[in-house]
Symmetry: C2
Subunit: 188 residues, 2 copies
DNA sequence: CAAAACTGTTAAGTATCCTCAACAGCTTTA
DNA sequence: TAAAGCTGTTGAGGATACTTAACAGTTTTG
């Protein structure tokens, strides 16, 4: 009957996000890890509590240790996506600085400008620890995946997340996508 | 029949060390964690691969997250105990400095002098992360527990370990025990 | 439009984890 | 010298994790 276990500390959600950000299907991951695809489904829906041995197998498909995987559960779950009117104007002179993120107290970011050619893809997401990342799309459309949340961002929209969460950027459109990104620690 | 699973990444050894350094019996830990004492025995002997849910219960008895627990398996297993003649003389003038540990390249320690009164006990071991600890007994006898390794050190003997491993010091003797200890980062 | 290939989910059965209870060995008490 | 306390281990059983094989839904191919 597959009862959904409540509050299993969201282990399943983390695994699903990890798998999706690597662009794998349940079957692909299962084959790579040498386990059944069914148990991947069960784990991701928190319908079972996997043994450490099995979880180790599954994670062997990623460049991620058990310690790294469980450190993800300590990552805070703050607001990720912001509409254009949710940006806070903090600027300035000729250049307008609009703040992404509601409360940056205790945080320290460095923003940059990046442009993605059509079809560009960051591919396998590298997990950086103890860092934060943010961005605003200036032109074009960019698919942003952060943890289990995915959205195609258009000009004016933005993201903000703890970069301990797995993430991936893809330009699915026909035209170049430009955005402002930010990362820690600040360079000025 | 309880087949012993080989190379289960020594999860059991870590749990046993963690339990012993806290001075708990299998039954005490089991009661505190709300599980059976039998499964503690099975896990510690790597006779089973516990589910994440159960392991979480067990570790809830300690001030240790799953991430912290699995980060222990990444701790290198270097030489821990050194005989008196295994110390390297690097000193000095009127004071003799004898180095503990074969290769300190890439390490940074600060040694101190400590004295333990009879019966003194560090008790519940606090785990410090990203640190190293070393010491030399000058007088008296001191029981040192590091991970799953325990030894009563006498004058002239020494220890060196990654302090991510759980540890505990106890003076079981009748007289004061004096030793030189060291910790990271250095204070000079 | 249908066939093929993919996606995630689920039912049935096997393997394994986990609990309960008992056991053997060692220390302390009477 | 038990007897009662503890220690860690083990066997039998029920609970559940895991596999295999099938299902339903969506996208791709012909």
């Amino acid at each position: 009957m597959s009862e959904i276990v409540e509050k299993e500390e969201d282990l399943g959600r983390r695994l699903r996000a990890l798998r999706q950000v690597h662009g794998l299907s349940q079957r692909e991951l299962a084959k790579r890890a040498g386990v059944s695809n069914a148990v991947i489904s069960l784990i991701e829906r928190n319908a079972t509590s996997p043994s450490v041995g099995l979880l180790k197998k599954v994670l062997s498909g990623f460049p991620l240790s058990l310690a790294d995987f469980f450190s993800l559960e300590e990552a805070p779950r703050e607001q990720v996506f912001f509409a254009a009117d949710e940006l806070v104007e903090i600027g300035g002179g000729r250049v307008s600085y609009r703040q992404v993120g509601r409360d940056l107290s205790g945080k320290a970011l460095q923003m940059l400008v990046e442009c993605y050619a059509p079809g560009a893809d960051t591919g396998e997401a590298l997990l950086r620890h103890e860092a934060e990342e943010a961005g605003v799309v200036l032109a074009g459309e960019l698919e942003v995946t952060v943890g289990d949340r995915r959205r195609v961002l258009k000009a004016g929209e933005a993201y903000y997340f703890d970069s301990r969460l797995p993430h991936r950027f893809r330009n699915l459109g026909e035209e170049e996508a430009c955005l402002v990104t930010a990362s820690t620690p600040p360079s000025f």
